[in-house]
Amino acid sequence: MTPELVSFIVLAIASTASALGVIFFKNAVYSALSLILTLLFLAMFYLLLGAMFIAVVQILIYAGAIMVLFLFVVTMLVPEQTEDALRDYIPWQRAVAGILGLVLVGGLSYLIFTGANTTAPKAVGGSLQAAVNAPQSGNIEAFGQALFHGFLFPFEVTSLLIVIAILGALIFGRRA
């Protein structure tokens, strides 16, 4: 029962539960928050697989920008079913949240002080000839080598795609 297996099982159960929460909550805001939780669990999956850069990018862009956009729109639009939601106020919620916050701080401090286990460096993409001289230290360097040697043209095309998306949003968002 390695730590990797334990964390995989915990993450699998948790991400499946939050993904089910996305599609089954009646309140759209709960669905959006559940999707943010799913995205965070997926970022932990990426950390488990050794893709540190993608994990951070996932949190920054997906959970940090795309879901914020979703929440803006969800809270702006009126839900179609006007059900009077039951205001269930859990009395012990703040105490549990405080304890979990302390657990999080304790866990992070423990990792910082004892030093996290760094895995072996990753090889660069097999389809690139320039990747032979890539430095063998760190995952982000391999990703950077792949990005700027083999995938440079798709990278530039995505900037064009983003400009098109911004223009489209501006056109759709204008008051007629």
Partner: protein
């Protein structure tokens, strides 16, 4: 890197998340929730890419995740602008009511 978990575990996880997204697209009528289910499907595919990239020791899979992330962001921007403009004219965002183009 050395793995103790078989690759099929990650791929099954990705398949489970993908099918949850598909069910969400099929059973919900709020287009925002349908959008979120589509994002869930995209993330399931990202998990497959990252898992295969890690098990085959290639950074190409992570590059594709980067591109999928960018395309998903662009798609969300345009889709949400569409939904907001539909809401402005109809004051209602039930997908079952959007049947003007039906032949």
């Amino acid at each position: 890197m050395t793995h103790s978990i078989p690759l099929s575990a990650y791929l099954i996880m990705s398949a489970i998340l993908f099918s949850i997204g598909v069910v969400g697209v099929l059973i919900r009528r709020n287009p925002l929730i349908i959008f979120m289910s589509i994002e869930l499907m995209l993330n399931a595919v990202n998990l497959s890419f990252v898992a295969l990239s890690s098990y085959l020791d290639s950074a190409d899979g992570q590059m594709f995740v980067f591109l999928v992330l960018t395309v998903a962001a662009a798609e969300v921007v345009v889709g949400l602008a569409l939904i907001v403009s539909i809401f402005r004219t109809r004051r209602n965002i039930d997908v079952d009511e959007m049947n003007i183009l039906r032949g």
